[in-house]
């Protein structure tokens, strides 16, 4: 290695770009102007020339610096290896933190977002998942409006006869069936066999059969039908705002039909033939009644449609996404900070 060229240091050497000289010496790619400037500095300034000569010497001296010898053997023992491998959970979490699992977190966040969107969409559904009373007065979902506790049933019981009376007008066309039901109600054995929830309505049914007879005699009019309908709504706690008395026979029939069957929990028309055969009415029998109502007007009583499905699906997705995000978070926490 030759020493620095015997050039006097330039007077303004302090202002020279030493970094540029270092880049030239290291062979870094330079812009043409930078290259010519660096070459000019080394050629014209003795101090810059000395610097250019010294930098490789420094690099070589660093490389030749001796280091103390290693004193430990770092090979792993089987016990250390077992400890480092960790338990099954640690290994699983480590797997989730691998670069190949990088798409896992955004996917989990996406699933969570979609789930939440579905939940929001389910709740924001126009009908809110239940049939609107205001929109269709005749489509009241009596099953949801109907109290289920014995106390509430006691409150409802007096209402039922009025509704049944109204419904009797519709049933007046089938006096034979009603007669059969009335006979069954008068049978004490049958009355005892009724579940408690229906016991209060047996009297109503008995009255109903009487009312059916009255109706045949023309006691029930359109106006008292509507009044009893609204009274029933108020008693049951159902918002009846905007409900107008049904203006025609068809609407009145529909309202009475629904109220009739659900207020009692028994469908007189369904009940009558069975009773006529002397079969006991059981809880299963009464459970059939709403189904028969739903089949009679599926659009009116459809409460298991898209909104509920969306909410349930959304909740499931949100739970799945949240769970995956949690696993990802745990995996990040379990990740070795030294690992690239």
């Amino acid at each position: 290695m030759s020493g620095p060229r015997p050039l006097p240091p330039a007077a303004d050497h302090e202002r020279h770009d030493a970094l540029l000289v270092a880049q030239l010496v290291a062979g870094d790619p330079l812009e043409p102007e930078q290259m010519s400037e660096a070459q000019r500095l080394v050629a014209d300034c003795g101090a810059c020339a000395a610097l250019a000569a010294d930098l490789p010497v420094v690099a070589r001296a660093v490389a030749q610096e001796p280091v103390p010898p290693r004193r430990r053997d770092h090979r792993l023992s089987p016990e250390q290896a077992e400890r480092l491998r960790g338990n099954a959970l640690t290994r699983l979490l480590r797997r989730f933190s691998l670069p190949s699992s990088r798409a896992f977190q955004p996917a989990a966040a996406g699933v969570l977002s979609i789930g939440l969107l579905l939940v929001v969409a389910g709740y924001a559904w126009p009908d809110g998942g239940t049939v609107s009373v205001q929109a269709e007065p005749n489509l009241i979902d009596w099953r949801t409006a109907m109290p289920s506790s014995p106390a509430a049933e006691a409150e409802v019981a007096p209402v039922a006869p009025s509704l049944i009376e109204a419904g009797a007008a519709r049933d007046a066309e089938a006096p034979d069936a009603l007669d059969g039901a009335a006979e069954a109600m008068e049978d004490p054995e049958f009355a005892e066999s009724l579940p408690r929830s229906q016991a209060g309505t047996s009297e109503g049914l008995a009255q109903k059969s009487g009312a059916g007879q009255d109706a045949a005699e023309g006691d029930v009019t359109e106006s008292n039908l509507a009044e009893s309908y609204l009274a029933g709504s108020a008693e049951l706690g159902v918002a009846a705002d905007g409900i107008e008395p049904p203006a025609d026979d068809e609407a009145a029939d529909a309202a009475v039909s629904v109220a009739d069957e659900d207020a009692t929990g028994l469908s007189p028309r369904a009940l009558a033939p069975d009773d006529a055969r002397g079969r006991d009415v059981t809880a299963e029998d009464s459970a059939e009644s709403p189904a028969s109502v739903a089949s009679a007007s599926p659009e009116a009583l459809d409460d298991g449609g898209p909104p509920e499905l969306l909410v349930v699906l959304g909740l499931l997705l949100a739970l799945a996404g949240g769970g995956l995000l949690l696993v990802g978070w745990l995996a990040r926490r379990a990740r070795d900070p030294l690992a690239p």
Binding site: A22, Q23, E65, P69, R70, H74, L76, A81, L338, A339
Partner: protein, 194 residues
């Protein structure tokens, strides 16, 4: 052994180690423990910390062997060891200790050639002490970059990947570090030039 052959050998050992062969991993340890120690001790300037860093590096490498995706196991291991060494250094800074005397201790120094007279031996000792002092005077980042470039022979892009900075930053650290070393060694440069 060229780099390609070295990489192929290491990849085979990694595959075997992933298959549960501890002996394969220990072969990798045997191949690289001297290299890792000499690299980290130049960076952290403390043999004890360096030993701990190398140990941690091999532990971490074993735990995360599945993360190795090639091509160079040496570079991957170097990155882990640099991270471990810096981690140890940070902990040491939080708990200041006595200056490490071993760099001044000649007991571990390689024996001087028989042809060298006492004057040359003394000069060599002065040079080593000066280099050690000046290396401690530059920043840890500059030191790591210079060691990886001038001692271990990594290229700019490899150093950028190992230290997780841009190539421009790597160049800047190397050049500024060298300029600082040259300034520090200026009064003693004549023997180095010789």
């Amino acid at each position: 052994m060229d780099r390609a052959a070295e990489n192929a050998r290491d990849q085979a050992l990694v595959t075997a180690a992933l298959g549960g062969e501890l002996e394969a991993f220990n072969q990798l340890v045997t191949l690289y423990q001297d290299y890792l120690f000499s690299m980290t001790v130049r960076v952290v300037r403390d043999p004890d910390i360096s030993e701990e860093a190398v140990q941690e590096a091999f532990f971490s490498a074993y735990r995360n062997l599945e993360r190795f995706s090639g091509p160079s196991f040496r570079a991957w291991l170097t990155r882990i060891a640099i991270n471990a060494a810096r981690d140890m250094l940070r902990k040491r800074k939080r708990r200041p200790s006595e200056p490490y005397p071993e760099w001044e201790d000649d007991a571990w120094q390689p024996p001087a050639p028989a042809s060298e007279g006492p004057e040359q031996v003394s000069l060599a000792k002065q040079q080593r002490a000066a280099i050690a002092r000046c290396m401690e005077g530059i920043s840890e980042d500059q030191r790591a970059a210079i060691v990886l470039y001038d001692v271990q022979g990594f290229g700019y892009p490899e150093i950028a990947a190992i230290t997780n900075v841009s190539v421009g930053t790597v160049k800047s650290r190397i050049h500024r570090g060298r300029l600082a070393l040259r300034d520090c060694l200026a009064p003693l440069m004549e023997p180095f030039r010789g």
